[in-house]
């Protein structure tokens, strides 16, 4: 508004103003423009914070997905089917736990605008997805998965053994 007024007076007035009358104008402009500069700087800082947060959530979600796939002891299936499990060989002999671990990492970077009481916040997040586990004998990393493996193997062996365990004194199919 001040600029607008200055321009109006500058364009429409035919009366030359004295140097004295313009004294301090630049300083006032500088003071006023600082608000904008500070806001821009704050926005740049905010952009940096958001960028760092985005990188952080991406790395965090990726790490969590791999952690679930290789070392985590808890079942990881989140149920949101972000990546629907592929049946694969499981269609031929179902029974193995077929999970996708798709953890989401999020962050809420916040910052100020340079004006008291006026701030902003953002929500950034990232979702990664890894399949796990690998249906190995021990069921590692999810120990309880050995139950699935046991049932899978036993049911398979039972197809030929079911009526023969007792007559032939055979050892249980599990542990193999």
């Amino acid at each position: 508004m001040i600029l607008y007024h200055y321009k109006l007076s500058r364009c429409t007035s035919n009366v030359p103003r004295s140097a004295l009358s313009r004294r301090g104008t630049a300083e006032i402009e500088m003071i006023l423009i600082c608000t904008i500069l500070i806001t821009l700087l704050m926005l740049a800082m905010g952009a940096m914070r958001i960028g760092v947060a985005r990188l952080g959530t991406t790395a965090s979600a990726s790490f969590q997905a791999f952690n679930d796939a290789t070392a985590s002891g808890n079942p990881q299936f989140t149920g949101d089917a972000a990546v629907p499990p592929i049946d694969g060989v499981d269609t031929i002999r179902p029974g193995f736990p077929n999970r996708v671990s798709d953890p989401t990492a999020s962050a809420n970077p916040a910052g100020g605008t340079g004006m008291a009481g006026v701030g902003y916040s953002a929500n950034v997040g990232f979702q990664a997805a890894a399949i796990s586990p690998t249906w190995n004998y021990s069921g590692f990393p999810v120990g309880s998965d050995q139950t699935f493996n046991s049932q899978w193997l036993t049911s398979y062996v039972d197809e030929s053994h079911a009526n023969l365990y007792v007559p032939l004194g055979l050892a249980p199919a599990w542990t193999p």
Partner: protein, 794 residues
């Protein structure tokens, strides 16, 4: 002139108003550009990170599917082994049942016959034993009388005083020994000579007390009935065995097993074939999830001219492993070596028999020795034979595990027989089994000779009248020798009778059922595993092949196999050769050790004991001489043969090189992915027109993952694999390579996925056009393998 009408440049020269505003606008622009730069950097970094995550998780997912399929394959091979093991048990039941039933029924018939007709042999043995005790006393009386006659005449003067002194010493020793035999060994009195042994029975009992204590009721009916009752109990157990197994025997288990094995194998093949499609579907799901473009690559197998690689399963049907032609240096013929039933049947490593000549010096010394010995230089089914090599490790263990169930019945039968032995001992007043110490061959003279030496003399010593002895003394000596021999012979016979007496009913008490079961299981095991190897209905690791012993390991394998073959030939043949030599040595008695013995049985037993060590040494020399000539020939053939290595043997010594080679890892178990941003998922730039809307070239990420087995470094599995030494098998045989385990054992059921250093990137770029196009579009236009390898490893 109004200011506004003045020329612009005139006005600008005079009026500096607004200059700061222009500067401020420029500053604001710079700050906004800074803001855009910061934002866009974050945007590119995030998109790049997301792309890398997509590549990483997709590669890991593909390797996970490969691992899953390997684990499922290992499990299914174990199912096939369990089917085979089931057939083994089924096949072992009938012959075991028949053998045990035949034996028990034969025993039952024998006992019934004894009950009906009386146990004449038992009573005769008892009577015989009592008569032998009487005979011992009678022979003692005569021998002692004869000795007294000699002793009375031994004091006369002799032509050779030294010989006379020796004769008198020997007469004294004979008297001492005879008293010791009769009083201590037979009658159970403490020995008068402190250094001589006490009575032969437990608790200081002599033969006389043992005979008396072991005097059973003359009626054998109670213990025959006890035997009969036990047999009936054993038969009842056998009936239980038959009842339990009948439902199993009624089924055609070999057909059931074969059908199921075929079904499982079909599933294995279907799963193997579906792996590529599964991995591609998973890849597409990942691409959709991350909204990126993804492609797959391998180092060669399954690479596709268009589109992602069709990842091949890291296993193949056993029948697909190629047979190898080989020249058998022993037989002098070309043979075909089966990769599954390795070195078996027509391709077995056999040498035949070798003739081992006895050394001329030995022949001259012992004419009774065979001039040559037949040395068997083979083992059953040939050196280094392996049936169904890829699965035999788990199969053998499973058979042992499965056979334990029905072995329980056989153990019950053997336990009943052990209980019968205890019962019979009670009924026959035998008490617990007693080991009756045999009459010693020699005793030590308690008195030292003039030289201070306590000589050892035979029991009983043979006397020889010195030169110049009177005819009366010569006759007395002859009488002593005659009766002394008869006496010690009677004592030894009584000892033998007591042992026979104890063991009279051993036929009915000795354990036999468990060994019968184990033997039949072993026979069936060999049959079934051989057939599994012939059928080849299971999967093997793709890297499984017949391969030559690695060059660095050949010398070690030669030394190791040669030593093992030599030892086996010696151990298999030494007993028969040693026995032949021992017989000849006993007959010749080169050291004249038996000259002092009176009775032939004692003499022979003493000579056998005395010469057995020497005979074994001679036998060892003879057999070893042949074995050391033959073993290198067999070992040379052994080392020249290909062996069934599950993975490519290491190119360097183990350790330090352990585990799978880089070549195998890359060829069969490695998958690479490349990810590229899509137009819709490219970085969204602030002030895009100024900054450029998307980076050119587009973002690119790649990753490498592989399937690996946890047990690769476990000392019970891959960690114990050696390539320059023989590998022992559970049945005492040995082979020339580590035993396969990665797709057929519990340890093999441990495959997992991991991200890896992208050391296969160069090969992947060479073999996968789409993969390469991702890189080209991403700005990577060169593919210098060395550069890529260097970059990947640093």
């Amino acid at each position: 002139m109004p200011q506004s009408t003045q020329p612009f440049f005139v006005r600008r020269r005079r009026d500096r108003g607004g200059n700061v505003g222009v500067l401020l606008l420029m500053t604001i622009f710079a700050l906004v550009a800074l803001l855009a730069l910061v934002w866009n950097t974050g945007e590119v970094g995030t998109r790049r990170q997301k792309l890398q995550t997509a590549a990483d998780t997709s590669a890991h997912a593909a390797a996970s599917w490969m691992s899953r399929s390997a684990n499922v394959m290992a499990a299914q091979n174990m199912v096939i082994c369990q089917d085979g093991s089931m057939e083994v048990i089924w096949r072992a039941i009938t012959p075991t049942d028949q053998a045990v039933r035949n034996e028990l029924q034969a025993e039952q018939a024998a006992i019934n016959s004894l009950l009906a007709n009386g146990d004449a042999a038992y009573l005769a043995l008892r009577t015989q034993m009592l008569q032998q005790l009487v005979n011992v006393d009678n022979q003692y009386a005569m021998a002692n009388g004869a000795w007294a006659g000699v002793s009375g005449l031994a004091g006369q003067g002799f032509t050779d005083p030294v010989a006379g002194q020796q004769f008198q010493t020997r007469v004294r020793e004979a008297g001492l020994a005879m008293q010791w035999i009769q009083n201590t060994y037979v009658s159970g009195q403490p020995s008068t000579v402190a250094t001589w042994p006490g009575p032969p029975g437990p608790g200081g009992l002599g033969l006389r007390q043992l005979v008396a204590n072991w005097s059973p009721p003359t009626d054998t009916t109670p213990f025959l009935q006890a035997i009969l009752a036990s047999i009936q109990q054993q038969l009842a157990v056998l009936v239980q065995f038959e009842t339990v197994t009948a439902p199993g025997l009624a089924q055609n288990v070999p057909a059931i097993a074969a059908n199921h094995e075929t079904e499982v194998f079909t599933n294995e093949q279907t799963m193997a074939q579906s792996l590529a499609d599964t991995i591609n579907r998973q890849l597409q799901a990942q691409a959709d999830f991350y909204s990126v473009r993804l492609t797959l690559a391998t180092t060669g197998l399954g690479a596709s001219a268009t589109g992602p690689a069709q990842v091949q399963a890291p296993f193949v049907p056993a029948a697909d492993v190629p047979v190898i032609s080989h020249y058998d240096s022993i037989q002098g013929t070309n043979i075909a070596i089966d990769p599954i039933n390795v070195h078996t049947d027509d391709s077995a490593i056999v040498y035949g028999n070798a003739q081992a000549p006895a050394p001329p010096a030995l022949l001259a010394q012992f004419p009774g020795i065979q001039p040559t010995f037949n040395v068997n230089c083979d083992i059953f089914e040939g050196w280094g034979h392996i049936y169904a090599a890829p699965i035999q490790r788990y199969f053998n263990g499973r058979v042992w595990k499965d056979s334990a169930g029905l072995r329980v019945y056989m153990q019950q039968i053997d336990t009943l027989r052990a209980q019968l032995a205890t019962l019979l001992a009670q009924l026959r007043n035998l008490g617990p089994p007693v080991n009756v110490t045999a009459l010693p061959f020699q005793l030590q003279d308690p008195q030292a000779d003039p030289n201070g030496v306590q000589e050892t003399f035979p029991v009983l010593p043979k006397l020889t009248a010195p030169a110049g002895a009177s005819d009366q003394l010569v006759a007395a000596v002859m009488l002593y020798n005659q009766h002394g021999a008869a006496y010690t012979g009677a004592v030894r016979n009584l000892t033998g009778a007591l042992t026979s007496w104890q063991q009279f009913y051993n036929r009915y008490t000795q354990a036999f059922a468990v060994s019968t079961w184990n033997n039949n299981v072993e026979i069936a095991r060999r049959l079934v595993i051989k057939q599994l190897g012939v059928n080849k209905q299971f999967m093997v690791l793709a890297s499984y092949q017949l391969r030559a012993v690695p060059a660095w390991a050949a010398n070690g394998m030669s030394v190791s196999s040669q030593a093992a073959i030599c030892d086996r030939i010696i151990s298999d043949n030494i007993a028969s050769v040693a026995q032949n030599i021992l017989n000849a040595m006993v007959a010749v008695d080169p050291r004249n050790l038996g000259s002092g013995f009176l009775d032939p049985a004692g003499r022979n037993a003493f000579l056998s004991a005395s010469y057995s060590g020497q005979a074994s040494q001679f036998a060892f020399q003879i057999v070893q001489s042949t074995a050391t000539q033959v073993a290198p020939i067999i070992a040379a053939e052994w080392v020249s043969r290909p062996w069934p290595y599950e993975i490519t043997p290491p190119s360097q010594a183990v350790p330090p090189v352990v585990g799978m080679s880089t070549s195998d890892r890359h060829t069969y178990f490695t998958i690479l992915t490349a990810a590229r941003s899509t137009p819709g998922n490219s970085p969204k730039f602030f002030m895009g027109k100024l900054m450029g809307n998307s980076p050119t070239p587009q973002l690119l990420a790649h990753a490498q993952a592989e399937a690996f087995n946890w047990m690769e470094f476990n000392s019970a599995y891959g960690g114990s694999e050696v390539f320059d030494q023989i590998t022992g098998l559970p049945n005492q045989d040995f082979t020339g390579c580590p035993l396969p385990w990665r797709l057929s054992t519990i340890g093999g059921w441990s495959w997992n996925a991991r991200l890896a250093v992208a050391d296969a990137l160069a090969d992947a770029l060479d073999n996968n056009p789409e993969f390469q196009s991702f890189f080209t579009e991403g700005g990577v236009t060169g593919n210098d393998p060395l550069s890529l390898q260097t970059l990947a490893l640093h």
